[in-house]
């Protein structure tokens, strides 16, 4: 059941629009669903974007263009070359620059009548409540579970709506959490997956247009919350499958036993979300696999010496096409039934892109009785860095 949107912007002294603003927003103003009242609500609204990357790009661009009066941008990252395939706020000349600052400049140029504030910082349990308190709506466009639970909990503690979107490869999820009486992220997913069980975006990849679509839906939901019109996604999880070009909808219920928004809540303040998610540090580490390793330089030296080394590549065929070390390709998932292709009497060096999947392969093969097997430390990426820069990184 769709819940009617309630206006969440703070009430301020009514303002007026300048003649220039009236011209800029004329396509809004001539729509009765927005009109002067709605445009003033947008002007008085304060929205905080967590993440200025794939989802943050369309969010920032459309919310700035629509005239949301104050936009906050939280991101500690710098623009990377691999971001440009989908993070359309950034240009090639921005590579290496702080994302929040580049986005601030881009959005201010798009709409000088609004206030854009960059927070070049990592969102933490220590700063989240302080950052959120000056904003009406929080929009979650991050890329990891600890930050998503942190955003959820901070929103619930402060009573602010959380416009949620997440993506994987060609699939997206969108909803609105934290509206009065509505469910929260913990109602939907009480716990995150353990590290390593679900591939991350960096491993799984993402179709560049997907965050454009999902982020745009988040922007639309944010504007509807501000205007107080239409049917909000609160209480509904929208699932988007870009390949099948299908939108499906699932009911979301407030969980009465939810630890943060339920009747008997057990969480009253922000916690350590890395510990909660079983993660230490920024990235989910490989499961604790201690397998024998060889560095790219040692590997190169042994190949040059003419040592008999069998190179096993456990990546997927489409990755092999990008670059390879002429290894024997057996994708990790096929290894158990293709073990017979390997000769346990020869010394094997297993590799993947970054060293994580091949560590699993080495662990598996050692348990299967292979004694002379090494993991290429850092994978083909490290090989490119340390041995042969002509091998492209991806």
């Amino acid at each position: 059941m769709a819940s009617k949107v309630q206006t969440v912007t703070s009430t301020q002294a009514p303002q007026t629009l300048t003649n220039e603003e009236i011209l800029r927003y004329s396509r809004h103003l001539i729509m009765p669903e927005v009109g002067m009242d709605g445009q003033l609500k947008l002007k008085n609204a304060k929205v905080l974007l967590i993440g200025t990357g794939g989802l943050g790009a369309p969010l920032g661009l459309y919310l700035a263009a629509a005239g949301v009066g104050k936009l906050g941008l939280v991101d500690f990252d710098v623009v990377d070359f691999t971001n440009l395939q989908r993070q359309v706020t950034f240009g090639t000349s921005d590579v290496g620059k702080p994302k929040s600052q580049v986005a601030q400049a881009r959005l201010s140029n798009l709409n000088p009548d609004i206030q854009v504030q960059a927070f070049e910082t990592k969102l933490t349990s220590e700063n989240a409540l302080e950052l959120f308190k000056d904003f009406d709506i929080i929009v979650d466009g991050t890329d990891n579970f600890p930050t998503r639970y942190l955003v959820n909990d901070a929103c619930i503690l402060l009573g602010k709506p959380n416009v949620y979107g997440s993506i994987f490869r060609f699939e997206g999820q969108v909803t609105v959490f934290g509206t009065p009486g509505g469910p929260c992220y913990r109602c939907l997913y009480p716990e995150p997956p353990p590290p390593g069980l679900v591939p991350s975006c960096a491993e799984g990849g993402v179709l560049g247009v997907l965050p454009g679509i999902v982020g745009s839906i988040q922007a639309m939901e944010t504007i509807k919350l501000i205007l107080g019109s239409g049917d909000s996604l609160a209480g509904r999880l929208l699932l988007f499958d870009a390949l099948g070009m299908k939108f499906r909808e699932f009911k979301l219920r407030k969980n009465p036993a939810c630890p943060i928004c339920g009747d008997q809540r057990t969480i009253h303040k922000l916690i350590d979300y890395y510990e909660f998610c079983g993660v230490r540090g920024e990235e989910a580490p490989a499961p604790d696999l201690h397998v024998p390793e060889i560095t790219p330089r040692e590997f190169k030296a042994r190949l040059d010496r003419g040592d008999d080394l069998f190179v096993l590549d456990v990546r997927e065929p489409h990755e092999y096409q990008i670059c390879n070390l002429q290894g024997h390709l057996i994708p990790l998932g096929e290894l158990p039934r293709r073990v017979h292709e390997l000769d346990s009497s020869r010394e094997i060096v297993a590799h993947c892109r970054g060293g994580k999947r091949s560590a699993e392969a080495v662990d598996f093969l050692r348990k299967a009785g292979f004694k002379k097997i090494l993991n290429l430390k850092g994978g083909i990426l490290a090989w490119s860095d340390e041995v042969d820069s002509s091998v492209p990184k991806y």
């Binding site: 979650d140 993506i167 994987f168 995150p192 009911k251």
Partner: protein
């Protein structure tokens, strides 16, 4: 009574890369048991060692969360769609 189980993108790699599968099953539990019986790797991702559905995986029958129905005992009828919806986190980097 054929029911269709929709397999989400992140878990397709453990299900022979299929996006859905059809089973004759009269409950959600039966359908999932047949699915994970066919794809052993998938079992580890959907269920804990104790055999409980993992808490980052939600299962829906025709848009309704089975946690608010009869969980895995939820009956299914011909033409029903069971959807497995795991949490995904991607978005920024």
């Amino acid at each position: 009574m054929a029911v269709r189980v929709m397999i989400p993108t992140p878990l397709r790699v453990y299900a022979g890369k299929r996006d859905s599968a059809e089973f004759r099953a009269s409950t959600v539990g039966e359908a999932l048991a047949q699915l994970t019986g066919e794809f052993d790797d998938l079992r580890r991702h959907l269920f804990t060692d104790e055999g409980n559905l993992r808490s980052f995986v939600n299962v829906y029958v025709n848009g309704e969360d089975i946690r608010y129905l009869s969980k895995e005992e939820t009956p299914t009828k011909d033409g029903d769609t069971i959807s497995i919806i795991p949490s995904i986190a991607g978005g920024s980097r």
